[in-house]
Structures are given as C-alpha cells and as structure tokens.
Amino acid sequence: MLRTSRIARLLLLAVLLLAPLLFFSSSMRPHHDRITGLLQELVYPLEYVLHASITLAKRVWYGYIDLRDTAAANARLRVRLAKLQTRLQLYEEKNAESRRLRALLGLSQRSPIETVAAEVVAQAGSFPFLAVRVNRGSRAKVNVGMAVIGAAGVVGRVLRVGQRHADVQLLTDSGFYIDILVQRTRLRGMLRGNLHNCVLQMPQSADLRIGDTIVTSGLVGNFPKGLPIGRVVRISYEANNVAQQITVEPWVDYRQLEEVSILLQRSSVTQRIVSSGSWLHEGVR
C-alpha cells in the first residue's frame, strides 16, 4: 500500500517535472479564461477598497491639510497653462493645415479615436511580469489587445479584462513587442520590452543617435501612428558586426503612473487597410 502510494507520488512528480517542457514549448502567452476571470473578480473588490481608501486619504491630506505650497504651485501652473494654450493654438493650426494638405493629396483622413480614461488601482503582478490593474473593464467597452497610453506616451496593451477592471501589460514586459519608427530618420523596427527598459535590434548601417525619439509606426497592433514611446539612451554594437542593439528608455514612468487612457479601437490593421485603400472602399461598395 505504502509502496503504491510512493510510486503514485513519483509518477506525479515525473508528470509535473515534464509539464514545464510542454509549457515551454507552448505559445507562452498569458491567458484569460473563465476560471481565471472568476478568480480575478473575487480579488478585485479587495483591491478596489484599498485603492479607494488610499485615494480618499490622499485627497483629504493634499486637499484640506497639506496646503503649504498651493499658492506658489497655482501661480506656477497658471504661467505654464498660458504657455501651453499658445502652443495648443499653434498645434490646432498645424493640424488643420495637415488635414487640408492630406485632402489635397488624396490621402485618407485619420479619424479621431474614442478613448476611455482609467485609474491605476493596483499593481497586477510583480517583477519580472509587471503589469498594472486599471478600473475600467468590459462594461466600459474595454477589450483585450487595446492600446493604453499615458500623458507621456505609450503605456502598454490590455492583457485581460474583467467586468470593472483590466490588466495592462507594460511596454517594458519581456513579452511586449511593438512596431516602431525612429522619429528623425523614419526607420522602422521592432521594439521589445526588456524589464526596465526596451531594446531594439537594427542593422549596423542604421542611422541612430543617443536621444532619438521612438514613436509607434501604426502599422501593426492597435497603436495609432506617431505616439511617443521613449528615447534612445544606449547603442551597443554586437560582436557579429552586423547588428546594433539600441536601448530605449520609455517616456512613461511606471512607478508614478496614476491615470491612463485606453484607446477603444481594435484590429487596426484591417481598419487601416480599409481606410487607406480607396480602391477597396469602392470595391466594397
């Protein structure tokens, strides 16, 4: 009896030791199914209550008690607001000009994208699989794969969705890939998360400099073209004399992330093909 139980345990151990081999050869993607969805819904209320209490405490402290620097900050912000309003008027003028020129050249107009604002309520996951949880889910029409942006640029992509929350895979996650453009030279490449920053492989002949801004190409995934991602901070040449590895530091600081916007558009590849190909429009008609 004892022997049978021992054999059963050893068999179980063998199966469990072999399981990683199967899983390492699988798609290796994070998953979302009914069971995990249910488990998420169970934990979320606790996280939300904690977040709400902390937010309330912060609001009371900074809104009613700690007001020492408020007047100075207010004056500083008024000056900044005036500067930004001037700059905004300039951008609006440029935008209108761009629209006119695109229409003149027969290029398709970029339609405005619907967004939903969300608050970061918790850290979902820890190093090295860092993600953040936001307080908008399927009830706010958020879906898996949607692009998430912050004030400074790209934050990540929606990984899984609950009814009232969603997990966002961060740009720096090692499983995150995004098609990019170097803003100055318009070179295209594939950026990959590298835990604390991102890396990009380019041929050695590619013209890149420290400080270059990297933006989304808008070709693959749900990110529209031109969203800022980060800047080049390091260029290292590989021993094979063929490639160079570029380290990109994201503009968004994930440690201080509080609010994000989720772009409510999906399968932009198809959308782009349809909207950019006028012949397709006519064909469809």
């Binding site: 469990l16 399981a19 290796m28 606790l46 850290q123 979902a124 590298n194």
Partner: protein, 171 residues
C-alpha cells in the same frame, strides 16, 4: 496582547478546507496590493512561495497540492506571466517537498530557511527561463533577484517565528 489574529489554524491538516481556500484571497491581495505599497518597486516579497512551502510541509499532499495550484492560478491572474508557469513551479515544488519532508530536520531554523530560499530559487529559475532573454540579462538583474530571495527568506522567518508553536509539533 496579540495584535495579529492567529493564522496557525490554517496550517492544520484537519482545518476546514473552505477556510484554507478563502485565506488564499487575502494572501494574494496582500501580496499584490499591500506589499507593493509598503516596499519600493524594485523589492519583491513573494509570500506565495512561503505559504506554499508551509502548506507542503504541514498538510497532506492532496490538500497542499490543491491549495498550491489554486494559488498558482490566482498568481497567473495577476501580471503578464505565461500560461502555466506557476502551476508547474508550485505543483512540482509541493510534490518534491512532500517526498522529502521526512528526511529534513524541521526543528532547525536553517532547514526551513534553506527550503524557502531553494523554493524561491526554483520559481525564479522557471520565471527567468520563460522570459527567453539572453544570459547577460540574468547578470543585469541579479541584484534584484538576490534581494527577492533575501526578502522572501525574511518573510519566511517572520512567519516561522509567528507559527513556532505549530511547526514544533512536526519535530
């Protein structure tokens, strides 16, 4: 006066299973919401591994395995970890610990701490393999990994001190 409610009943083999299952929810919540608030972003304290080790040593295999796999599933609902990573890591861990628990001198503090560190190391190795990054990345993040091992070991030590009356019964 005890400020922290007793948790030791959760580590008894004949405790109510539903209570042991329910206890996993606050544990996961504590892991992802409270420790992240208390600790700097580069420090990770893996309470899950500590709890799995305690369960594997103190409970029967079916119960310990069920709890560990449920914890792994809960862990996989957080973050961007690949599918099945923690199921494999914690499933294997529980079975191995169960097989060898009779050979370890649990009356020694160092035995507990060694088991906790080795278990966390196993989880770290699987995590790192799943990242599919070049070996140099291991060196780049070695400080963070060492810190994680140390903090998890410390969490294990605190829990061990807290439950010493319970863990004494298996000596």
């Amino acid at each position: 006066m005890r400020l922290v409610p007793s948790l030791t009943f959760l580590l008894h083999d004949n405790s109510k299973t539903y209570l042991q299952l329910l206890a996993l929810l606050p544990l996961v919540f504590f892991q992802f919401s409270v420790t992240t608030l208390l600790l700097p972003s580069y420090v990770v304290c893996n309470l899950i591994t500590v709890w799995v080790v305690f369960n594997a040593v103190l409970l029967r295999l079916p119960k310990a395995l069920t709890l560990a796999l449920l914890l792994a599933l809960l862990l996989e609902t957080h973050g961007a970890a690949p599918r099945g990573l923690y199921l494999c890591a914690y499933g294997t861990l529980v079975v191995v610990l169960h097989l060898f628990r009779g050979l370890i001198a649990w009356n020694m503090l160092s035995a507990w701490l060694t088991v906790i560190v080795s278990s966390e190391l196993w989880v770290l190795v699987l995590e790192h393999i799943s990242l599919a990054m070049p070996p140099t990345a291991l060196l780049a993040h070695s400080q963070q990994y060492l810190l994680r091992l140390g903090v998890t070991c410390l969490a294990g030590y605190v829990l061990l001190k807290y439950t010493h009356t319970l863990t004494r019964r298996i000596h």
